[in-house]
Amino acid sequence: MNRNRYLADYVTLLIVAVVLALVPLGVGGSAYYLRIATLMLIYMAYAVAFNIIFGHTRQLFLCIGALAGSSAYLSVVLVTKGSLPPWATIPLGIVFAALLGGVFSYVSVRRGLGVIFVGIVTLVFSLIFHNLILGLRELTNGETGIETRGLGAAALESGRGSYYVILAVLMACLVVYHLLMRSRAGMAFRAIADDEIAAELAGIDVTSYKVLAASVGSALVGAVGAVYAYYSGFINPTVYALVSVDIVVLITLLLGGMGTLLGPVLGGVLFAVLDELVRPLGRLNVLVYGVLMIVLVITFRHGLVAALRKIAKVRIP
């Protein structure tokens, strides 16, 4: 009985892995499209993490970019200034991001902060992060940023190799998501998202589960952020700004569907296509994203997966 229920999830994960693995072949030799595909994977992974934090426990963390950047900068700075190898510093970045996210969550729940205040606090954190990076110029090189080529993360520097490494990271995120959702934590999340007060009364330790969601989500964000730093060849504050990460993640999840397994993946594909279509518009692309976000939030709030579920009458994960 139970196996059947998760069969759909496993099949989905397998299909996703296979399809995405085939993409580099479909793309031929084009380094340009390979890069776009790789970026798509990155954003999918961010979206999976945000899905856990916001999609399932309604914690509006408007600081995904800052969390990713915190992990990335910590890792890179430790490599450049501390002469440690990347594979040692990336876990540190992950832990750091997880700690930050966990603390934000814990303090917010403890103080009974509503969605708005969590949003404000995390937005302020994004600002603090941005200015901290600019201010600690000796460590971070400020606005100019740091080159990450040749720092030792060789696996992330080749074209195809990077793609598969990052695909592995994405699959890991999806698997973590799946395992989390099918555990007792997942049930708690559903109850909390439905009616937090009722969940509390029913004996669910809302604080612990929310902090868990935030920490796990932030850890994943940290992982993706750090990996991206080495992949892209350089980092600077703009790479992890609100307009670079958070809005993309929000649109991706709105497009795909929050609270679902496939949501981030489908949303990521749609967004990648959209991004390409919008590229010739140059600077106007931000405007398009803004319009898209407004339209999605108003009309298409539940995303593609929900729409497909209705049409196909099949419980797509």
Binding site: V124, L127, V297
Partner: protein, 285 residues
């Protein structure tokens, strides 16, 4: 020292000008206007452009404020309607996300139409002397604008019927409805008023330093911080908090430098949210 204090107070007044708009719209059932800074930038840029064309500064300022107001009106009647149709947490989320998207729309458009813009509103005399202290004319003008604006605002809210009606909708939307007040029309008025205050804030920003697209998000953030510290539902609190933070900003910048100061301010906001979510100067209900 006094020069720093004066500078701080003036900066604080500008911050309050921005923050008051946030407080007004938040009173509409928790809609957090993340596009507030964009209203300011539109107002400021319009003013600067018209002054550049040779228009009388006062007229240009009025035009800038009006243009910000018109934008606010348009936003309220179109994009915010779905948020008003819902209530409670859904309204919070919708309002937040819609205005976030809106901020990107305005930013994107400005970036496209006026890439790399950095406008300043220059005045005839850069500074003058009072009692041996050199005061930048810009500071004096900003202070004057802000004080006049606040005096008018307070007089309007406390003295006129419309002002009382606005306060009533902010204090209790249901109660206002019971009196036969149409919350929808009042909301539009509040959003327009708030946008105009933001426009003034943008003009002030243009006088102080420079106006560019990226200022929008920064202005929103500062407005949020001040509004939060002063109490998102209290207009008096917002004014007090703005001046206070302005003074803190001025002194801290002088002693510890720009970045650390910013972090101090942001930290203050976070602490206030954690210790007294209603704001430092909010009413004890």
């Amino acid at each position: 020292m006094i020069a720093i204090l004066v500078d701080g107070i003036v900066q604080g007044l500008q911050l309050s000008l921005m923050a008051v708009g946030i407080t007004l719209i938040y009173g509409l059932g928790g809609v957090l206007n993340l596009a507030h800074g964009q209203f300011a930038v539109v107002g400021g840029i319009t003013t600067a452009l018209f002054i550049g064309e040779g228009m009388n500064p006062l007229a240009a300022c009025a035009l800038g404020v009006v243009s910000a107001g018109v934008l606010g009106l348009a936003v309220d009647r179109t994009v915010l309607v779905p948020a008003y149709r819902s209530a409670g947490e859904e309204r919070l989320l919708l309002g937040l996300l819609i205005t976030l998207g809106l901020s990107f729309v305005v930013n994107g458009y400005l970036d496209y139409k006026y890439p790399n813009i950095a406008l300043t509103i220059r005045l005839a005399t850069p500074s003058f002397n009072v009692v041996g202290i050199t005061i930048r004319t810009a500071s004096a003008v900003v202070a004057l604008i802000a004080i006049v604006a606040f005096v008018l605002l307070f007089a309007f809210l406390k003295g006129t019927l419309l002002g009382k009606v606005i306060r009533s909708v902010i204090q209790n939307e249901v109660g206002a409805g019971l009196c036969g007040i149409d919350p929808g029309r009042i909301r539009t008025l509040i959003v327009t008023l708030s946008a105009m205050m933001a426009g003034l804030g943008g003009v002030a920003q243009g006088l102080f330093s420079s106006l560019g697209t990226e200022m929008g998000n920064e202005l929103t953030s500062f407005a949020l911080i001040v509004a939060v510290v002063g109490g998102v539902r209290s207009i008096n609190g917002t004014l007090a908090a703005g001046v206070l933070l302005g003074i803190v900003n001025a002194f801290a910048s002088y002693f510890v430098g720009a970045y650390l100061t910013l972090i101090i301010l942001l930290g203050t906001a976070v602490f206030t949210i954690l210790l007294r979510p209603a704001g430092l100067f909010a009413y004890r209900t």
